[in-house]
Each structure stands twice: as C-alpha cells, then as structure tokens.
C-alpha cells in the first residue's frame, strides 16, 4: 500500500474547515432561515444584514399589503401531482422568508384576493422574498466557511 504525506491529505478530501466553527456556522444558517439577515448579523456582516432584512421585510410587507396569498403548508399528493405539486412549490417559495412568513400566516394575514388589481404582483413579491432569503442563507454559509469575505 502506498503511503502519502499528511500535507497532501487535505486537498484530496476536498473538506473545508469552517472559519467560524461548525456550531457557529450552523447557528448562523438557522438564524438566517428564521429571520432574514440575522445570520449575517451573527457573523458581524452588519451592512449585509441590514440590507437583507430591510429588503426582504419590505417585499413581504408589500406582498401582504397588495393582497397577495401566503400559501398554506402543503405537501404534494402524487395522485394529483400537477395541482398539488405547484401548490407545494408556492408554499416553499413563500416560507423561505422564515418568521416573516410564519407570523403573518399564523395571524391570518395574507389570505389573498385573486380579483385584486395587484394580486399577481403581490404574489411575485412574496415568492421572490422567500427565494432571495434562501440565497442569503447560502451566502451566510459561504462566509462562515471562509469561502467569501
């Protein structure tokens, strides 16, 4: 069996040691999933934290105010996947905002009015807020892992 020097072992395994530590990385990602930008705040990236929270919160506010729908938690029923599958995707996109989705949803807001003039725009605001927060979580993960500044 061929033996290799220890110094070559790390690059071959491709493992990256988290700069912020595994615990802090996990906490930052979970915090970011709950409150947009909070993960960055824990990593002391204040400018990003403020921008992410502000932008996503404003988008959710506009989405609800313009009578968009906060879709209920739904799981795909494989006997009618075409209908229920899309409903699940809409829920996933909405719920990406974390507590900004769950708090209004529990308070009964975001029931939506499909006849409203701004209904489509409102839904786009809500979907995009959730999807952007998913990108924000990945960004927090990359910063904690030392892949980004």
């Amino acid at each position: 069996m061929e033996t290799r020097p220890i110094s070559n072992a790390a690059p071959e395994t491709g493992q990256v040691e988290p700069q912020a530590g595994v615990f802090r990385t996990t906490v930052a990602c979970v915090a970011g999933a709950l409150i947009p930008g909070f993960g960055h705040a824990l990593l002391r990236k204040w400018d990003r934290a403020i921008v992410f929270f502000g932008s996503i919160a404003i988008m959710v506010y506009f989405g609800i105010r313009l009578q968009g729908t906060l879709y209920n938690p739904a799981f795909p029923d494989f006997s009618d996947f075409f209908t229920t599958g899309f409903a699940s995707l809409k829920f996933l996109a909405d719920a990406g905002s974390g507590l900004l989705y769950w708090i209004p949803w529990m308070r009964g807001l975001g029931t939506g009015d499909p006849t409203a003039y701004t209904y489509d725009y409102a839904n786009v605001f809500l979907y995009v807020a959730g999807l952007l927060n998913m990108l924000v979580i990945v960004d927090a993960f990359d910063i904690a892992m030392g892949r980004k500044r």
Binding site: D47, V51, T118, L135
Partner: protein, 57 residues
C-alpha cells in the same frame, strides 16, 4: 400603490440591492452591479410588455 410601473421599480430596486450585496464585496462593484441589474429589470420588462402587446390574452 396600484401603478404597475411603480411596483416594477420597487421590485427592481429591492431585488437588485440584495443580489448586488450577495455577489459583490466592494462598494464600487456593488453600485455598478446594482445599476446594471436595475436597468436590466426595468428595460427588459418594458420590452417584454411591448412584445406581448399584440397578443389578445
């Protein structure tokens, strides 16, 4: 707040801001990228609107 163009501008500003902060680190790069994204959102949306104008649905 029922003017679609105003909503388009608000959406473009917020989305471009988040994407600029995610993808760039330096302030100068962020501003350039923000302007590029914002202009792309607005111009391409208007263009798409005009292209769809002849369709009856």
């Amino acid at each position: 707040m029922k003017i679609h163009f105003t909503l388009l501008l608000i959406f473009s500003i917020l989305t471009s801001l988040v994407l600029a902060f995610i993808t760039k680190n330096e302030a100068r790069d962020r501003i350039k990228y923000f302007v590029l994204l914002f202009c792309s959102f607005v111009v391409l949306s208007i263009l798409a609107g005009w292209l769809m104008y002849p369709f009856p649905f």
